[in-house]
Amino acid sequence: MMSWIKKNQKLVWLVAAVFIILIFIFLRQPIRSVFHSISGSLESWCWERGQSGSNFWAGFFNASNLKDENQNLKRENRALLANLLDFQELQEENQRLRLALDLGLAQDFSLKEAAILTEDLAGDYLVINKGSEDGIIKEMTVITYEKVLVGKITEVHRRSSRVRLLTDAGIKFSVKIADTNIQALAKGEGNEKITLDLMPKDVEVPIGALVFTSGHESGYQPNLLVGVIAKTSNTDIEPFQKAEVEDFFKIQEATLLFVITD
């Protein structure tokens, strides 16, 4: 047997390669699923340590800006205190209305709570700790507690799922800009960036305006928060006005996510 293998080494390698390729084609889902099931708790632990570690280093490297930041925050704080009273009244009214209409986040959607396990180093993808066992299926939308849109489920394993973030290159969906009638096409640019396109050139797009998903035709539930307009670009050579969006979802700050299951 051994001598036959030694004689036909090339054939053995070829058969082994074909066998491995077939395993990868037909068993890729179970392989990934088993791996995430085994190492889920370790991944979760590493994720939490990484999050606190990155916060520490971010503070360390930004130490020179802390004084200016602190002064700015104090100024903002004073301005916000003035508005607080108005907001408190509004909040009380809002709560009364919510109670009356029985409208919480959980009432708006049927949700499944999930924690982040890993992030893809190259693309804008996440792995969360909920899978088919928890009723997760492909194309479900993922949001945060504040109704900020995170992305969509693209791959489901037994106890984990892969989420494609809306910032991933190639993602396109329609959005609307708050307090205006402007509709636009949001595009993921990769590397945690989103831009808006197809906006008429003759309208003024306000900087700092909120961007929401426009409706079911966008592929997402309507009125989910995307971000704020950070920068606009309206040049003669472009047929449409463009804008850059500052995404509300920050991976490094994210703790719990919610999958909309209905």
């Binding site: 190492s39 994720w47 570690g53 890993t118 190259a122 693309g123 290159a169 990769g190 590397n191």
Partner: protein
């Protein structure tokens, strides 16, 4: 000896893959992060003896773990891992492996090869060349290279 090396790599790469995907992903700089598995594969194959073939299996193992965490077609990084291991092994005799410049050229070429392949793998989502990833991994490789050399010098001095 080769079997032990592969088994140790199998276990070590498992933890390295989790560390990379769950911990190091928080420390991205302009979209690039330290790809520990890729750096390990290149270093192992660079320092390995010519007749030792376990570097190829280690390349496949590292690629397999990268596949587990990637959203792309499974097996693609396994293939890339083997190709990089093979390329490093083939390129090594063309240079003087004791010189740092040789290491730098081979290491940089391997990283460049990986980034170009990765650019085509993810071409469906737009062409994006991750230059910061290339720089971070190159710097990490150089640091580890000098640490290994320093460790060798110290251990030789102790033997004397």
């Amino acid at each position: 000896m080769q079997a032990i090396k592969v088994i140790v790599s199998f276990i070590a790469f498992y933890f390295l893959a989790i560390f990379q995907a769950s911990y190091l992903s928080h420390f991205k700089i302009r979209g690039g992060a330290w790809n520990t598995l890729l750096v390990a594969v290149i270093l192992v194959n660079f320092f390995e003896k010519k007749e030792d073939k376990s570097g190829l299996i280690i390349g496949a193992l590292a690629g397999f773990y990268l596949d587990l965490f990637s959203p792309y077609f499974m097996g693609i990084f396994t293939l890339v891992g083997v190709l990089i291991a093979f390329a490093v092994k083939r390129a090594k005799p063309l240079f003087d492996p004791k010189r740092f410049a040789s290491f730098a050229v081979i290491f940089f070429s391997a990283l460049l090869f990986y980034e170009i392949i990765f650019m085509f793998i993810s071409a469906g989502q737009g062409l994006f060349f991750n230059i910061s990833g290339l720089i971070i991994n190159f710097l990490a490789g150089i640091i580890i290279y000098w640490m290994v050399r320093l460790f060798n010098v110290i251990s030789k001095a102790k033997i004397r």
